[in-house]
Symmetry: C2
């Protein structure tokens, strides 16, 4: 039996730990299944009761007349382990565990988690949860869940599959989504994801024609590798995915050993990971629920700057949209001369400026029809927002019919149409939603979705991040330079010395002397870097000072190296971040003390193409100062782009655990690394 069938379309389910106490959440699945009219067989298992809530129960799973397709284990955590083992031994394909007393329950909980893992590994049963509130398939009339929200029966089956790591949120999403026009095919709460993750479950639904798009509520990126695999397939099948992810307020680990960790926190990586998986990451719950239809209409191509036009019957409402989009860096585009001419020829009332404003006139059906037609066929727009005011409430038929008609004929060069209903107008929204139109109820939600959709990039397979049983030490600076040399990354000339006398070549002050040692990321903090050395005598002093300081700090010294002090137009940091699930990321950041204050960074999953490298450079604000800003000398940003690509190649090929060039000097002709930290086993 395939996984999708067992999870979402089982012909028989066992409720292990079914209970007579209606106050207990574990009593709900039985009631919900009956009330929904689930057509499969439901087996109740309770060791001490012959009947549960009036239906006959079995004392033991082994007594069931057949092996159920799916078992929902409603017992306490203590008993759930044994229940899962019975299921596994009996050959039940999938079991879901409700109780949360595992990962959060101290050392007892840890033991139980280990037991669950062992059962999964040895019996081959697949486990949903623990701490999963269950699965709902509306097309199958199967609310196999303890979420109280599914006591309601009036939800028509739809096309969006919801996967949430939080159990309590599936109820909120179901109820809020109903009002915002989302239509759901089903829900799954994945809980602690000891075995099955959100990505794997979603992947198991990809062949389901009832599922046209996906809505994810993500608490963490535990199962990212599977999420990526799923996202790749969803993209290929044209099934868009939208995600709301917690953790936006996280900052990078302040105490990480490289600066890169502090500059690019896990959530920042997740943003790039999701964008690169063509998953639209929204910032609001309303945006999450309203995104689906518009994601079907907009291209997955972050390089295409979406050109947005605006037609309105409410001046104030339109101004709100323009402002909200503007806050997110998206300018509403005025109609072209040709479009203005067509508007003039059609003798439309109202005013045309950046927006086409039909206030007080737009309630006339023929006016709206002409206006929507002109705007949606205007070649300059990818997306036309139609902001509708009080007429959406007073005369929905009149004002919405033209929008619905035009939206239905979208295609061959026509712009996508997204109506925004400015007043509270549930009837209008419902009309639009029923017609499959990408309608929005707030400017905030609309802007959120447009921005999230526009960040999506064509997904690529990713190589996993390296994993080592034991992390090797950081290479010393000369060994790190050898690695850079292999990948063609320019770096400063560095000469090992024991005294000024053995310094090779002409002494060209000022120079720098540095301690050379493995596992020494922050040399400066220990006083192991001496700058501005002007004479051989000063160099000898510096060598002595570095040697004694390192000895005092217990640093095992490989030697001292001397480098010229190079001038530059600016400094950047180039770093690597590895995440076990999400993969490898290149981080570019402005250098210097203000870097960490402003956290002015760009992040991309590897491999980074040259185009992506140029994008990264344009995303880091401080790079403007290196681009010839206000008449200053321009840095060699082409060389910087080449080096970003080379650094990405280093990451994929050499698979270091850490890699950071800080600073990388940007000069008028080229870039040059003047320090590097790399952690890998063999240089």
């Amino acid at each position: 039996m395939d996984l999708g069938t067992a999870i979402l379309r089982p012909d028989s389910v066992a409720l292990i730990g079914a209970t007579d106490n209606p106050q207990r959440p574990g009593s709900r699945p039985q009631r919900f299944l009956k009330s929904a009219g689930y057509r499969g067989r439901v087996y109740l298992v309770n060791p001490s009761k012959p009947t549960v809530q009036g239906d006959p129960a079995y004392a033991d799973l082994a007594e069931l007349p057949e092996t159920p397709d799916h078992a929902f284990i409603l017992t306490s955590a203590e008993r759930a382990v044994d229940a899962l083992r019975s299921c596994g031994e009996l050959g039940v394909p999938v079991a879901t565990i409700l109780d949360g007393g595992f990962a959060d329950a101290g050392s007892d909980g840890e033991d139980r988690v280990a037991a669950l893992r062992e059962i999964v590994a040895t019996t081959g049963i697949r486990l949903l949860g623990p701490n999963s509130i269950g699965v709902v398939n509306l097309h199958h009339a199967m609310p196999l869940t303890a979420n109280s929200s599914f006591a309601e029966r009036d939800r028509a089956p739809g096309t969006t599959f919801v996967a949430s790591q939080s159990g309590s949120m599936i109820g909120a999403l179901a109820s809020k989504g109903g009002v915002l026009g989302a239509s759901f095919s089903g829900f799954v709460s994945t809980g602690s994801e000891i075995d099955l993750t959100l990505g794997e479950i979603c992947a198991a639904t990809l062949d389901d024609d009832n599922v046209r798009d996906y809505l994810l509520f993500v608490e963490n990126t535990r199962g990212s590798a599977q999420l990526r695999q799923f996202a790749l397939q969803a993209y290929e099948r044209g099934k868009p995915v939208v995600a709301y992810k917690l953790g936006r307020s996280e900052v990078g680990a302040e105490l990480s050993q490289t600066h890169t960790g502090a500059l690019a926190g896990d959530d920042a990586l997740a943003s790039q990971f999701l964008a690169d998986s063509a998953i639209a990451r929204v910032q609001t719950l309303d945006g999450l629920l309203e995104a689906g239809p518009l994601l079907h209409l907009l291209p997955v191509d972050h390089r295409k700057r979406l050109s947005v036009g605006l037609l309105t019957t409410t001046g104030g409402g339109a101004a709100m949209v323009v402002d909200e989009l503007g806050v997110h860096g998206i300018d509403v585009v005025p109609p072209s001369a040709g479009t203005r001419e067509r508007i003039r020829a059609a003798e439309l009332p109202g005013t045309v400026s950046r927006i086409v404003d039909l206030t007080l006139a737009g309630t006339r059906r023929e006016v709206m029809t002409k206006a929507v037609d002109i705007m949606s066929t205007a070649p300059e727009f990818d997306l036309v927002i139609v902001a509708v005011g009080s007429s959406a409430r007073s005369d929905p038929d009149l004002v919405l019919a033209p929008i619905i008609e035009a939206a239905a004929t979208t295609g061959d060069g026509r712009a996508a149409i997204a109506p925004l209903i400015v007043p509270e107008a549930p009837e209008a929204l419902s009309m639009l939603h029923s017609a499959g139109v990408a309608a929005f109820h707030s400017a905030e939600s609309l802007a959120d979705v447009i921005v999230a959709a526009g960040r999506r990039r064509t997904p690529r397979p990713i190589s996993p991040a390296p994993s080592y049983a034991k992390a090797p030490p950081l290479l010393n600076e000369l060994d790190a330079y050898q690695v850079l040399d292999q990948y063609g990354i320019p770096r400063v000339a560095s000469t090992p010395v024991t005294s000024a006398a053995d310094y090779d070549g002409p002494f060209d002050p000022p120079v720098v002397a540095k301690a050379l040692a493995a596992d020494l990321p922050h040399k400066s903090d220990l006083g192991c870097v001496v700058l501005e050395i002007g004479s051989p005598a000063e160099l000898d002093d510096a060598i002595a000072s570095i040697t004694s300081r390192c000895a005092a700090a217990g640093v095992e010294l490989d030697g001292v190296i001397v480098q010229p002090m190079l001038e530059s137009l600016g400094e950047v940091l180039l770093g690597l971040r590895n995440d076990p699930g999400m993969g490898q990321f290149v981080v570019l950041s402005a250098g210097g003390v203000l870097t960490e204050i402003y956290r002015d960074t760009a992040i991309r999953p590897v491999p980074v193409s040259r185009d992506s490298a140029l994008e990264m450079i344009s995303e880091v604000k401080a790079m403007k100062a290196l681009g010839g800003y206000r008449g200053q000398a321009a840095g060699d940003l082409n060389a910087l782009a080449d080096t970003i690509v080379a650094f990405s190649t280093l990451a994929t090929s050499a698979q270091p655990l850490d890699a950071e060039i800080n600073p990388l000097l940007v000069r008028a002709d080229g870039v040059v690394a003047v320090d590097a930290v790399i952690r890998m086993s063999t240089p």
Copy 2:
């Protein structure tokens, strides 16, 4: 007759230009007034019809049996001028003009605006609009408006007065507010504000006991002086004000003559102006509509960091709140040891970490009662958020009664209580709203309001910005320094020279030579600043170069000045922005090229106290680098604060049109201005 009565509680109204055509917006007020059961007298005026929509009409205003308290002019703009004149001559206290064909209608429109102004000035009539969609007083059953949304009659009178510069938005606010629990006393659309502004109209309602708080939809800050006056009085009477203001996406004028203008755009000033007026500026329309009750509970004191606790029955919902608040820089505070002990002693189910989580247990009434009581009486919290999950939908009585009870007993040290209803649960929200509880329907809206409330500052009267018939030229640098000297702002020693020979005192290289000239803000751009002068010969060269460059550029030279080149730990910009309505603002910004890239500024209305100056310093992120960050030398931030205060005194006392110190060097011992631009008539 006082203004408030004439606008909002008229005993008689005239509808000038009343029309039989039901399609025309001008036909609506007559129908709405009748349908609402308005008890005053309604006089219809139409020169060509004896009856309008079945009611008798007068051909001329002069024929009316009495002078109406309020005239609503529904004619086209062309005729509205004459109608206003008739009203003014007849002694009508207030007239509202619907049509928008004035400010937006080219030179004809400008002529009409001038005519309106003249009528107002000569007859004493007060004018609302033009382009006002009217006024609604729900307590007076008076929908004197053409906004189609007021065809509905089911709005119960409430306590929030809505003033909007946009006419179409009052309908949207009315309908959306109804769903979000806002209860409105009335609405006004102020339109073009040729005479009456939003602030003056709101002020006219301050004595109305039906009005307990205010909701503003602001398109521009035209009438800011009156808004400030109103806000001061509203604050004194404990009537909170919330505002949504358009223009957030505006940036400063790039081409302004000083950098200050580019760094501090009008909208940034408006944010500070509103905060300083104790007006909570929200960023979302939902926040605007849900803010009222919570604003009554939270203190107007931006220096008090609000301590927020969180109790929840939905793990995922609570995580969303924590995250959304975190994005806005507000950390949810964990319960103290004492509170945890009380929770333990009460044997509450669920878990206690940063939040108190009753998931699956909170639906029991006694559990919720105890938990809410412990949290709201815990001394460590100012505000307790109670995030309620699906039980709000399935068992609203059970879970909400304890919240309503606890909210009713708020006072004497108890924390304010703000429930967040995570699922769609209109019944639950309605119960909470009816009980006057500060309930929210989304984490985004809740966070928006908490942040906006926390930014409010105790309002102070402000002195108006200076106004000149003709702007005087910029002072030359030495004259500007004389002004700084008067206010005790340290500046660099500057010696006027004609040649190196007449340079007074020992020559201590390196020095700087600069052109001295009035009206020369960007000396460097013309090559009129020569740095790093190392010898008297170089000085003579520099003087010659400056003289010839200025001659070539047509700059009238007052001479050349020489200054020592001072070292510093960092540079800042200190500037002044004047706005005719909002007053004067001091702008502090990080100096150097990255300043304009990051727009890292702090802005305060003058006068700036020393405490406020220290706040400004802490708001500018780059100042961290001057505060001894990562072991670097610390700049003298106390001296910087003193200088900000002195600069504010300069602004209030000398009333310059422009003033900018750029850069102001921050050194280990003190600060020093090394350039200054001031525009005022007498130094």
